[in-house]
Assembly symmetry: C2
Homo-oligomer: 369 residues x 2
């Protein structure tokens, strides 16, 4: 299990992450399977789309169906019949949302389950235990990710707590097969970003998440903070920008040295009728598409585009038929996979800058249709 960089083009890099369940070419995008299902898709479909890795949520699965249920079935891979790389997010981000009524205790995050209002205390040790029992290939540390717009002290506190928890998390770890990624915080303060990344770098994790970005701050600030975090993180380790998945932002971040992405964006958008194409996004639910014999995206080779017209998909979305959501999800995930493959190819051939310029021009100009 290791990470190797085979090519660099400017700050962009192409490489391979090896886990207990195979190789993942980077830069890569992880479809989100929060509850052990990439919404609307079977695991076979995710594999057929060419995805080598997905991400589930440890906290959500701990609450429902419960970690013992999944452990009894031999872990997440068997449970969801996905035998490639599985990341598990710690759930720190979720636990701190308002619907969890979170409180910090000396030991972790106390919260109420939004499913049944039961009380829980999520500690770094429990978070580690849960992810080991789930048997994921890459575990993420429990972090303290405050919302955007708090006072500076809150982010300073978050950095200290995140480092302390990361250390405890690592000490609780006892499984050679599982890679550990820490999550760097620091809000929108460059010095705190540097401090967080430096402290975590010292703890020598297998990789580093960059958290607390794209949660409300201006785009330019996001890019600046991303650069600050990356400048301090060890260059030989994989960098994972968490929760960010618009095509434009993904390319911008690859250009700054990010290797791994995840986001519910392409799949959630799909369920709300937004179709990605190289010419931008459009809503397939608009009535005018009922007259179109074209595929969702001309020239696309995905299952949906090979088999169905815009007219049919538009009808399904307008009629509330579940198949519509699946067909658009399949297309959008195919789009993201193609984007990442093209990005890797461009890095390897030293043409990443041109590739991005070309993509941006078409994607930003286009009406999508």
């Amino acid at each position: 299990m290791s990470f190797s960089i085979s090519c660099e083009d400017g700050r962009a890099r192409a490489g391979k992450l090896r886990t207990a369940h195979g190789e993942v070419e980077t830069p890569c995008f992880l479809p989100v399977a929060t509850k052990a299902s990439v919404k609307t898709l079977a695991s076979e479909e995710v594999l057929e789309l060419g995805y080598e890795a997905i991400i589930c949520n440890a906290l959500v699965l701990y609450l429902k169906p419960g970690v013992e249920v999944i452990a009894e079935q031999g872990g997440l891979h068997s449970f969801m019949n996905f035998h490639r790389t599985i990341f598990t997010d710690s759930g720190g981000f979720q636990a701190l949302r308002r619907e969890f009524c979170p409180e910090f205790t000396g030991r972790g995050i106390a919260f109420r389950s939004p499913f049944d209002r039961s009380r829980h205390l999520f500690t770094p040790e429990l978070c580690m235990e849960v992810q080991q029992a789930l048997g994921s290939d890459v575990a993420l540390t429990l972090d303290d990710c405050p919302p955007y717009g708090e006072a500076r002290e809150r982010y300073a506190e978050s950095v200290a707590r995140t480092t302390r928890w990361a250390r405890q998390f690592k000490e609780a770890h006892s499984c050679d097969e599982q890679l550990l990624f820490a999550i760097a915080q620091g809000g929108t303060f460059a010095d705190l970003r540097r401090e967080s990344a430096a402290q975590l770098a010292e703890l020598d994790f297998d990789g580093y998440g960059i958290g607390g970005l794209s949660i409300g701050e201006p785009h330019s600030v996001m890019l600046e903070m991303l650069e600050v975090s990356i400048s301090v993180l060890p260059p030989e380790k994989p960098r994972y920008l968490m929760g960010l998945g618009s095509p434009v932002e993904v390319l911008e971040a690859i250009g700054r040295g990010v290797d791994v992405f995840d986001s519910a964006f392409p799949t959630r958008n799909a369920r709300h009728s937004a179709v990605y194409t190289r010419h931008g996004k459009y809503s397939i639910a608009k009535a005018k598409h009922l007259k179109s014999e074209k595929p969702l995206e001309e020239g696309c080779t995905c299952y949906t585009c090979r088999n169905y017209t815009r007219a049919y998909v538009s009808h399904l979305m307008r009629a509330g038929e579940a198949l519509g959501m699946r067909l658009v999800t399949l297309h959008n995930l195919h789009f993201m996979q193609r984007l990442m493959r093209n990005a890797r190819r461009a890095i390897r051939s030293g043409e990443f800058t041109e590739f991005v310029k070309d993509f941006m021009r078409r994607f930003r100009k286009g009406a999508g249709e």
Copy 2:
């Protein structure tokens, strides 16, 4: 295009219906694709399950997305990418439900669209025109199907109107490629059932639906009325018992000479967690299944049973994940397809009675699990 009976075993018969889009072995079960989608499934999946025919609803598609949308795409087969036999139900049954605020006019049924409250007049001629534009292989006549429990005069009126409409429907028909089935009514009055079937038989349709059953009347009355209708219908024509799809009732009706069935039952049940097995039905949403490594049905070869455990499907249903509904739908439709295949085989080998006895014993005794 024709219907041929190759084997009879008692009153049960095995045969073939030939339509413009291929052969359909009978007795057969039609999955319901009211809005041009068998809920949760892609057309390829319906084909992979072995189904040679499905049924859509002309009235519902006339309202949404509109028949011109589907006609512009080359008809229903191209629209939904299903290039086997498609039946279209007239929608008479739907138009008379309360949410349509129906009224009989001299010419047809006036109603309001439940989608946008727009006013429509569905006549036999329009109903025919719609089904021709949809390009279905088998069109059903517009019928007057009163609810259960009305006064006798209402059913007498329904018989007269249904025959009158069937005649007009047939006269409006101008497409050689499309088979026409009339729908026999008569409520729970044997003489009216006989009258309706005899009048329609005289009009020489390609096949006959038997409507207005399984809508609230006692089971024994349903079977009696079914027998009465069948006794008057021409034996060489296919008989289609409309809207009836519980495994037990399907077998009882095959034993009385029915060739075609349709029902939203197996698919709707699936979306409500009910799993069919040869040992009865059970709810996969029960918490105890979270611990089970078994497939939904032991020995089943469907996609779901080959790839996933009860634990996983139970989790998906309890977590409200769309994939769960699809996985159970795939299983239940596989179950129905296997049931029909076994029934045909039993008829051909002269063992239908034993087959039914055997099936009933296991299915009725079992807890399903």
